[in-house]
């Protein structure tokens, strides 16, 4: 189903257990309608990658994921030849002793091409589908790759010298995420619909915990959300995201704790805080402070 209004996007996301706030729903709707990439920024663990997954589920299209890393290049993002098979084929031709010219072209054909995410997306889109292409953590790739992507995102076509140009019939649904470990160039962002995903409000976080961890009590969900709200105002080196809230809730479920007592919170701080300095800071201010109401 392709949601055709902001409300429909909201509903579709909620039905897949993603509680999106209004601004995100508007942005997603806009990106779908305009056929433009969606650029999601925000701290780690606020649910950026999840948006792409949910979107793929909602649209009932395959999710094609490109995880970025330093040194990522066209071979890994686009296509690569299957050398082992090509060499075998060459040997085979030699054995058969058949004429060379036409066969060389055979060896450089689609059959021997390994499609990586970007080509996969274009190929899927060339058949009339609208796959969801997730370009995850673009900030980890180098600037060279970003420049390459700029071109890809405007044309959605891939040229392979030996084969020719493969063009997408419709633009794939593209979701680009960034944790902002560095600034992505404005030229790329301008091609996209931009959205900054913030930490959720207390109400939304409670709702998310409820949805994702079934069987959790209303009190506990509220306690967790409140503690998180406090933690995020504490000037921590790495404030916990929604992913951490869910980890925390799941841990408490495993431990069988129905309520968040100072003792339980203290012994599980490592689930939500990943820097020694942050844990120290919370302990010196007192874990009880996180839990008191009002």
């Amino acid at each position: 189903m392709i949601p055709s209004s902001v409300d429909q996007v909201s509903e579709a996301f909620t039905s897949r257990d993603y509680i999106a706030d209004r601004s995100l729903a508007v942005t997603v709707h806009l990106a779908l309608e305009l056929g433009r990439p969606l650029f999601l920024e925000g701290e780690a663990g606020v649910g950026k990658t999840e948006v792409a997954k949910v979107l793929a589920a909602v649209l009932d299209e395959p999710l094609i994921r490109l995880q970025c890393y330093e040194g990522l290049d066209a071979n890994h993002a686009l296509y690569e030849w299957d050398y082992a098979r090509q060499m075998l084929a060459i040997r085979l031709l030699e054995v058969k002793g058949e004429g060379a010219k036409a066969d060389v072209a055979d060896i450089m054909s689609r059959e021997y091409l390994v499609a990586r995410p970007l080509l996969q997306a274009v190929e899927a889109a060339a058949t009339g589908r609208r796959p969801v292409l997730l370009i995850d953590e673009l900030d980890r790739a180098d600037e060279e790759f970003e420049a390459y992507l700029l071109e890809f995102l405007s044309d959605f076509q891939v040229t392979i010298p030996e084969i020719g140009t493969i063009r997408a019939a419709t633009a794939p649904v593209v979701v680009v995420t960034s944790n902002r470990t560095r600034e992505i160039h404005d030229a790329l962002k301008r091609r996209c619909i931009y959205h900054w995903i913030d930490y959720p409000t207390f109400e939304r976080e409670t709702a998310i915990v409820h949805r994702k961890i079934p069987g959790i009590s209303a009190e506990l969900a509220a306690e967790l959300a409140r503690a998180m709200e406090r933690l995020r105002t504490m000037d921590l080196f790495k404030p916990p995201g929604v992913a951490e809230t869910l980890d925390w809730a799941a841990s408490l479920a495993v431990l069988g704790s129905a309520r968040l007592s100072p003792e339980v919170a203290d012994s599980t701080l490592g689930v939500i805080l990943k820097y020694q300095e942050d844990i120290e800071r919370v302990r010196t201010t007192g874990v009880e402070r996180l839990l008191t109401a009002g």
């Binding site: 902001v6 309608e33 690569e80 060459i90 060389v104 180098d142 900054w196 000037d235 080196f237």
Partner: protein, 407 residues
């Protein structure tokens, strides 16, 4: 969807809105105006909240734009006014610029530097004459304006060959590291060779980025200008350069440093910093860096250059702790202290004492000769890090490469 003809007040309004956003520094192009209209038509205008989110998503490109956009929205469509509200032509389009009342470091000589570029290169590095020798050893604070000019000229031409590390990208190589099947096969096609001559790739070397954090507080005043020229000279000769200055708080000056002309770069820096010659809070400034910038600008294992005399008004415990975090997030910490070369100097200030366990190289930086030594140190940075003391309780004496007077 009912497309409005461009004469409608609403469309005009959007164009004005876009123009206004541009004056406030948002990356608005003529295309953006069209996007605004498209976005408005898609979500409709009956729900102002949706319209707000939609228009915002097509105009901003970073989180700090949000505030600017919100203000502009309030101005044009806020307080219950619908986005359809009649054309606003009362808004004055003023350029928003930082008030340039701040102190500008005056160039000591009005002479332009551009014509120097024509001079032969040898003059710069060839320090043969006794005059040049004297100049190289002369403290920056004792230079005459003419000598400063000369020193700057030399700095701009110093040769930097900073240490390289192996990157994660690959490049063709003559032999050895990993076979390059793509090239191997390509070579094979069309050749009649029976043997398979393997082609190879090796990791492409890459220069480590340089991260400069310079103290511009009162006690550094007499050195700051020349050292900023030095940083400017480093720009362009290294891979990437990130630069920050601090006195009581931290300011990022990376963009300003990038300007080609050092004088303009310097005056832009002085316009950007508003606590020149203030007190020094090294620990707090580093804390700001660690929390807000570290994960955004520290990529690729940079070499960090901290420039400070170590006179610190802040809490040494904070400094110790923040130095710990800082040193663990970079490849190497080089501390430049203009006073370190003076006879009888010992790093005894509380700030210096707190920071030293986390410093790899402690070097003087008071004259040209010192700066040459700094460059040599940068060139010889080893590929591996020494283990860092953890947390805030490190008091051991570090294995300095040089510079600390043994007493």
């Amino acid at each position: 969807m009912n497309a409005s003809p461009p004469t409608e007040p609403f469309t005009d309004n959007l164009v004005h809105f876009a123009r206004y956003l541009r004056t406030r520094g948002l990356p608005v192009t003529s295309e953006t105006a069209a996007d605004l209209l498209r976005a408005a038509l898609i979500v409709g205008l009956d729900n102002p909240e949706d319209a707000f989110h939609a228009l915002r998503a097509v105009t901003i490109t970073r989180p700090d734009h949000q505030l600017v956009f919100n203000e502009a929205w309030e101005l044009f469509f806020g307080s219950g006014r619908s986005p359809r509200a009649p054309k606003l032509d009362t808004i004055e389009f003023q350029t928003w610029r930082r008030n340039p009342t701040l102190r500008v470091i005056a160039p000591t000589s009005a002479e332009a530097s551009d014509d120097d570029a024509a001079e032969p290169k040898e003059v710069a590095e060839q320090m043969g004459g006794s005059y040049s020798e004297r100049l190289a050893g002369k403290d920056f604070t004792e230079l005459t304006p003419e000598e400063q000019e000369e020193v700057r000229r030399i700095m701009a031409r110093m040769i930097w060959q900073p240490a390289e590390t192996l990157g994660r990208r690959w490049e063709p190589a003559r032999s050895g590291y990993r076979p390059d099947l793509r090239r191997t096969l390509r070579n094979l096609v069309g050749s009649k060779a029976d043997l398979l001559p393997l082609a190879f790739v090796a990791p492409r070397p890459r220069r480590r980025p340089l991260l400069v954090v310079a103290d511009v507080s009162g006690s550094m005043e007499r050195y700051v200008e020349m050292l900023l020229y030095f940083i400017h000279a480093a720009r362009g000769k290294l891979g990437r350069l990130e630069a920050f200055v601090f006195a009581t708080h931290l300011t990022r000056i990376t963009r300003q440093v990038r300007h080609r002309d050092p004088r303009i770069a310097l005056s832009q820096i002085s316009a950007a910093v508003n606590d020149w010659s203030g007190g020094t809070r090294i620990g707090e400034s580093l804390e700001t860096f660690n929390r807000e910038w570290s994960r955004r600008v520290v990529r690729g294992g940079p070499i960090a250059l901290i420039i400070s005399d170590g006179w610190d008004r802040g809490d040494p415990d904070v400094l110790r702790k923040q130095m710990g975090i800082f040193s663990r997030s970079v490849h190497r910490v080089i501390w430049l202290n203009p006073l370190a070369g003076r006879p009888g100097f010992a790093p005894e200030t509380r700030g210096m004492q707190a920071a030293l366990p986390f410093v790899d190289d402690f070097l003087p930086a008071a004259n040209l000769r010192d700066l040459r030594e700094v460059i040599r140190t940068l060139e010889s940075v080893p590929g591996h890090r020494r283990p860092r003391p953890v947390g805030g309780d490190a008091h051991g004496s570090p294995p300095f490469s040089r510079g600390i007077p043994t007493s």
